[in-house]
Symmetry: C2
DNA sequence: CGTGCGCTTGACTTTTTTCAATAAAGGTGG
DNA sequence: CCACCTTTATTGAAAAAAGTCAAGCGCACG
C-alpha cells in the first residue's frame, strides 16, 4: 500500500494538487491498531489527528457507571481527532479500534504550518468541521427529542439510503455498539427491535441483517409523529 | 454605537489588524430583532452568518409534539450560523431572539472571499468551529450519560465558575428555557430544583437567583457519581 | 468441545413525561 | 399605584419510557 495513494483517497484531500499531496505525505505517519486497542484516551494531549486508511474506529464518552456513549463511528477515509488539534489540545473523548485498523497520523504543528500557507486546505478543514457540527446537531436532536425507537428508525433509514438494496440492511457494527451509538443499552435496543418485528415493520434475518417491511412506519417513527405500541 | 468598535469586541476578531477590521466592516450589515422574533428558520437558505452586538439568541430544534431542544444560547460577542455558511448552505435549526437583540450580519460569499486571502482569519474560524464541536460533545455526553439532576448540577457549576461571587448564581434565562437547554421540560426541572433545596444543596432566592450551599454534592451529581434521593 | 461474548428475555425499579390544576410574577393600562 | 391579564413556575397523580439485575441461549473462536 502506498501512503500517497491513501491520502488521495481521503475525501478531505480529494482534488488537491500532486504538490500538496506530497507535502501531506511528507509529514504523515502510518500506524496500525488491533481490535479493541485504544488509539487515544480522553484528556490525553493531542499531538496529531488521524485519517483512517482502512478499519473502523469509535469515539466515545464513558460514564462512571461504565455506560458508554458512542459519539461517532469512523470508517475508511474518515478523519478524526481534528477538532482537538485546533482547540485546547486535549482529546475530549476516547477512541478505540473496533477492528484491525490502519491510520495515517498528521502531527499537529507540522499540519498547522501547512494550512497557514494553503488557503485551499484550510477551507476544506472548515468545511469538514462544519459538516461534523451539523451531524452533532442532529445527534443532539435525536437524543433529546426522540425516543429510542425513533432514533433506531432514523438509523435504519439512513442505512437504507446508502444501501443499494434499499430494503435489505447490513449492520456493520455489533448491536451493543449500535445501542451505545443510539444512546441506550443493549437490552432496550433488543426489546425495540423485537417490537418492530412484532408490528411487521422490520424482519430480522440472522444477527446482522434487517429487512425493512414498512418504510412508512419507520419514517413516521423517525420523525416523532408516531410511537411504538 | 460604532460598527467597527463592535467588530473589535467580537472574540473571534480580537487582535486583527485595523486593516482587517476595515475589510470586515465593509461587508457587515447591522440588524435588530425584537423579543421572540425569528432570526432564521430551520431549512432556510443561509446567506450570512451572525455576530451578536448585544442581546440574546437561542438556537433550537423543534419536535412535532412541540417540545423544543435548545442547542445553544448565544450572548454578546458570540457568533452563530457560521457552520451553515460552510456546509450545505441551509440552517439546521431555528434561531429566535430571547430579548431585544442587535446583530451584525456577514454575507456568506463576501466573507468566504475574505478568508481566502487571510490565513489568519481562517485559522480563527477553524478554532471557533473546533471549540464549538467540543462543546457539542459535552452536550451529547450530558444528554446521554447523565440524568437531569446531573445536567443541572453541571450547569450551575458552570455558572458559578464565571460568577465573581461563586456561591451566588444569577440565571439570565427563564427556567423554561433552562429546562429546554438541559433537554427536559419545566415540570421536571422544577421538581429537581425542589429536591436539591430539600437536601440542602442549593437555596432558591427569588425566581432567578440560586445560592449554592453544598458544592461538593453538586460536583458529585455533575460527574454522575451520585444521585438525588 | 468448551468457554466466552454477544444477544435476548423476564421481572422489577427508577426516571421522566403527561395532564391538569393552581400559584406566583411581571408588565400594562387605567 | 393598583387591578388585571398573560406568562412563567410549581405541584400532584398517573402513565410511559428506559434502565437494572439476573438468567439463559447460541454462535464463534480458540
Amino acid at each position: 500500500m502506498d501512503k500517497k495513494e491513501s491520502i488521495r483517497n481521503v475525501s478531505m484531500f480529494k482534488g488537491l494538487s500532486p504538490d500538496q499531496i506530497d507535502h501531506l505525505a511528507d509529514i504523515a505517519i502510518v500506524k496500525s491498531y488491533r481490535r479493541n486497542q485504544t488509539i487515544f484516551a480522553e484528556g490525553e494531549d493531542c499531538h496529531s489527528f488521524y485519517v483512517i486508511i482502512n478499519g473502523m474506529v469509535r469515539i466515545f464518552k464513558l460514564a462512571p457507571s461504565g455506560k458508554e456513549q458512542i459519539i461517532h463511528i469512523f470508517r475508511d477515509g474518515d478523519i478524526f481527532g481534528e477538532a482537538a488539534v485546533f482547540s485546547g489540545g486535549k482529546f475530549p473523548a476516547f477512541a478505540t479500534a473496533i477492528k484491525e485498523t490502519k491510520v495515517i497520523l498528521f502531527p499537529k504543528d507540522k499540519f498547522v504550518r501547512l494550512i497557514k500557507d494553503d488557503p485551499d486546505l484550510s477551507l476544506r478543514i472548515i468545511g469538514t468541521l462544519s459538516e461534523r457540527l451539523k451531524q452533532f446537531v442532529s445527534v443532539i436532536e435525536n437524543l433529546s427529542l426522540k425516543e429510542v425507537s425513533g432514533r433506531l428508525a432514523s438509523y435504519l433509514l439512513h442505512l437504507s439510503d446508502k444501501s443499494n438494496q434499499a430494503e435489505i440492511i447490513e449492520l456493520d457494527i455489533t448491536k451493543g455498539n449500535l445501542a451505545s451509538l443510539l444512546g441506550t443499552i443493549p437490552e432496550t435496543l433488543s426489546r425495540i427491535l423485537a417490537k418492530m418485528s412484532d408490528e411487521g415493520i422490520i424482519e430480522s434475518i440472522g444477527n446482522r441483517t434487517i429487512k425493512i417491511l414498512d418504510i412508512d412506519s419507520l419514517e413516521s417513527l423517525a420523525s416523532g409523529e408516531s410511537r411504538l405500541r
